[in-house]
C-alpha cells in the first residue's frame, strides 16, 4: 500500500488535526506574503516621506569659516557654479538630489533679508527624480513668512528688488526656521542681484539611504575623499540628525519584520509540532501494529513527514492567495502614496512552496522520531 495513499486516508480520517495544522501554515504564509507584497510600497513610501524632511548634505567652499556659517546661515565664500555639474556627472558618488544655491544678506525695504537663489535640481545620470525643493521660475519669488507678514506681501504682487521686477509666485507658510526671513528666487536672478554671476556658495544634496549605518561616519569620510578628487576646494557637512532619522525610519520597518519573522516561524513550528505530537499519540496503536506487520522506521517516519509536506504545500498555496488578496485589497489604503506598487509577487509563491514544507517537516521531525522509536511491545499491550 502506497505511503501517499495512507497519508491521504489518514488526513481524511483526522481532518481536524490536519485543518488546525493547515491553519497555522496558512496564517504564517499569508502574513509573510502580505508583508513582503506591501513591503516594497512601504519602503518607497518611507523614502518619499523622509525625503520631505530636507537635504542632509551640504557642500561648501573650502575656506568657509564654520562659526560664521552657523551664525549667518550661509558661507561668505563662493565657488564656481560648474561644481554642481561636475558633481552631478560623477556616477561614483552616491546622491539622490543636488541643488546649487547662492545666498546673501541684503537690506531691502529697511529689512535685513537673506536672498536665496536656487537652481533647478539635478539627479544622478539616468535617474531622473521629482524635485524635492522649490522649483522657482526665473523672474518669480517665493517670500518667507515673516517678510510677507511684515511687508504685507501677497501672491501675485509685483515688486522690485534693486530695480529688477519680480512676480511673487508664492508666500510661504511659517516654518520656524530662518526660511521665514528669506526671499527665494531662481539662482540666475540672485547671481545678478548679488553681482556674483556664475558663482554659488553651497550645494545641497540628499545622500539618501546609505550614509550613516555606521555611526563612525565612515561613509562621510569616503564621500569627503571622493569629493576632494572631484571638487578640491570644497568641504562637506553632514546634517546627522536628518540622516539618522531617515536611516532609522528606513530600518524600523526592517527591524520590526526581522522580529516578527522568527516569532511567527517559532509559533507556527511549535503549533505544528504539538499537533504532530498529538497525532503520534493518537496513532500509537496503528504504529504498533505496523511495526508488528514488519513496517520499518523509514516507512513509519515517512507517514508523518509526508503529511507535514502535504500541510506545508497546501498551506503555502492557500496562504499565498490569502496574503496576496489581503495586500492588494487593504495595502493601497495604508500606503496611499505608493499604492500602485502593490501587486502580486509570484516569486513569493515559489519561496513559500519551498520554505513551508521544509518548516513543517522540521516541526514534525521530533514527533516522527518519537513515532519511530516508540516500542510496539508497550503500545500493543495497552488496553
Amino acid at each position: 500500500m502506497r505511503t501517499s495513499y495512507l497519508i491521504f486516508l489518514e488526513i481524511r480520517q483526522r481532518w481536524l488535526n490536519f485543518l488546525l495544522s493547515l491553519l497555522a501554515v496558512v496564517a504564517a504564509t499569508a502574513l509573510f506574503v502580505s508583508f513582503f507584497t506591501t513591503g516594497q510600497a512601504s519602503k518607497q513610501e518611507t523614502v518619499r516621506l523622509m525625503r520631505d524632511m530636507g537635504f542632509n548634505l551640504r557642500i561648501l567652499p573650502e575656506k568657509t569659516n564654520m562659526e560664521e556659517f552657523w551664525k549667518t546661515g550661509y558661507s561668505e565664500y563662493t565657488m564656481p557654479e560648474s561644481h554642481v555639474y561636475s558633481l552631478a556627472s560623477k556616477e561614483a558618488i552616491s546622491y539622490a538630489h543636488l541643488t546649487a544655491i547662492l545666498q546673501g544678506k541684503i537690506l531691502w525695504q529697511e529689512k535685513e533679508i537673506i536672498l536665496t537663489g536656487i537652481a533647478p535640481e539635478l539627479s544622478p545620470p539616468g535617474k531622473k527624480k521629482p524635485p524635492m525643493a522649490y522649483s522657482i521660475e526665473r523672474g518669480t519669488l517665493h517670500i518667507g513668512f515673516e517678510i510677507a507678514q511684515g511687508l504685507g506681501l501677497e501672491k501675485g504682487n509685483k515688486i522690485d528688488i534693486f530695480g529688477k521686477p519680480f512676480l511673487i509666485a508664492q508666500t510661504l507658510s511659517e516654518s520656524g526656521t530662518d526660511d521665514d526671513i528669506r526671499i527665494f528666487a531662481h539662482l540666475k536672478d540672485v547671481q545678478i542681484l548679488l553681482d556674483k554671476e556664475g558663482r554659488i556658495n553651497e550645494i545641497k544634496a540628499l545622500q539618501c539611504l546609505c550614509v550613516v549605518e555606521d555611526k563612525n561616519i565612515n561613509d562621510l569620510t569616503l564621500l569627503r575623499e571622493q569629493l576632494t578628487q572631484v571638487l578640491p576646494d570644497t568641504k562637506v557637512i553632514l546634517i546627522k540628525s536628518i540622516a539618522l532619522a531617515r536611516e532609522s525610519q528606513r530600518m524600523m520597518a526592517e527591524k520590526y519584520f526581522a522580529f516578527i519573522v522568527p516569532f511567527v516561524v517559532v509559533v507556527c513550528m511549535a503549533w505544528i509540532g504539538i499537533l504532530a505530537f498529538t497525532n503520534v499519540r493518537e496513532r500509537r496503536h496503528e504504529i504498533g501494529i505496523m511495526r508488528a506487520l514488519g513496517y520499518g522506521s523509514q516507512k513509519i517516519a515517512s507517514l508523518f513527514l509526508g503529511k507535514a509536506v502535504v500541510v506545508g504545500l497546501a498551506g503555502a498555496a492557500i496562504g499565498f492567495v490569502l496574503g496576496t488578496f489581503l495586500a492588494v485589497k487593504f495595502g493601497p489604503s495604508i500606503f496611499k502614496v505608493t499604492a500602485n506598487m502593490i501587486a502580486p509577487e509570484m516569486n513569493l509563491l515559489y519561496w513559500a512552496l519551498i520554505f513551508s514544507p521544509a518548516v513543517c517537516m522540521l516541526s514534525a521531525f521530533i514527533p516522527s522520531i518519537i513515532a519511530v522509536t516508540q516500542d510496539p511491545a508497550v503500545t500493543l499491550r495497552e488496553e
Partner: protein, 223 residues
C-alpha cells in the same frame, strides 16, 4: 521440525517498584503445524512471551529461534523483514487501522516485503472468513467478531508459517469466539502453526499442547 524454540529465556523489566521477572528461564518448543495454547493468569508473562517470540521484545537472556532463525541475532531491519514474511499477529483489541476499510486493512502487510499482494488476494481471504459483504466497511462499522476476523485475514495475507494470537477471543461472545478459533484451526490444518495465549480454558479443547505460565515460569505441574 520445531517452528519455535525458546532456550532459557529471561526477561526483566526495571520499574520504579523494582525489577519484574516477566519471563524466568523459559524453555519450550513448538513444532511446525502445531496448535499450542499458553495459559496463565493476568501478569503471568503471557504477552511478554508472545511479543518475544514475535521479534518485538528482546529477551534479557536466552535464545529464541523461529523457523530455525535466531531472530534476535538479526538487526532491526532484518527482524522486521523476517516478521513480515513469517509471522502473523492477532490481538485482543484487533488493532485495525481506523481510516482503512476492511480490504485495505487486510492489505496493510503488503506495504512490506518484496511480493506484492493485490485486492483479489484480500477479497479471497475475506470470502473465506465470511466477510465478503463487509469489504468496504470501516472498522467502526463492524461488530467485534467481524473486526477479529478482519485481523485474522490480515495475519493470514502473506501466508505466514506461524500466527501468534494474544487473547483473540477476549472481547468476543462465545459464538464469535468459536468462529475465530475455527478459522485459526483451519489455518493450522492448512499447514500453519498457531500459538494462542489466553487466561481462559475455552480454547483448550482445540490445542495439541497447553503450556501453563505462572509468574514468568512454565508450570510443569499442569502439563
Amino acid at each position: 521440525m520445531n517452528m519455535v524454540r525458546l532456550e532459557h529465556v529471561r526477561k526483566f523489566f526495571r520499574t520504579k517498584q523494582g525489577d519484574v521477572n516477566a519471563l524466568d528461564d523459559v524453555s519450550l518448543s513448538v513444532r511446525e503445524n502445531e496448535f499450542v495454547v499458553v495459559r496463565g493468569p493476568s501478569g503471568s508473562g503471557k504477552t511478554t512471551l508472545l511479543l518475544s517470540i514475535g521479534g518485538m521484545l528482546r529477551p534479557t537472556e536466552g535464545q529464541i529461534l523461529v523457523n530455525g532463525q535466531d531472530i534476535y541475532a538479526q538487526n532491526n531491519r532484518e527482524r522486521a523483514h523476517f516478521r513480515a514474511e513469517n509471522i502473523g499477529f492477532v490481538f485482543q483489541l484487533f488493532h485495525l487501522v481506523p481510516y482503512l476499510n476492511v480490504v485495505e486493512n487486510v492489505l496493510l502487510p503488503s506495504g512490506t516485503g518484496k511480493k506484492q499482494y493485490v485486492r483479489k488476494d484480500a477479497e479471497e481471504l475475506l470470502d473465506r472468513l465470511n466477510l465478503s459483504d463487509r469489504m468496504l466497511h470501516r472498522p467502526s462499522q463492524l461488530s467485534a467478531g467481524e473486526k477479529q476476523r478482519t485481523a485474522i485475514a490480515r495475519a493470514m495475507l502473506k501466508n505466514p508459517g506461524i500466527i501468534l494470537a494474544d487473547e483473540p477471543t477476549g472481547n468476543l461472545d462465545p459464538e464469535n469466539s468459536r468462529e475465530i478459533i475455527t478459522h485459526l484451526v483451519k489455518f493450522q490444518k492448512s499447514g500453519g502453526t498457531v500459538i494462542i495465549i489466553t487466561h481462559s480454558s475455552n480454547v483448550d479443547s482445540y490445542a495439541d499442547r497447553i503450556f501453563y505460565l505462572d509468574k514468568g515460569k512454565i508450570d510443569n505441574r499442569h502439563a
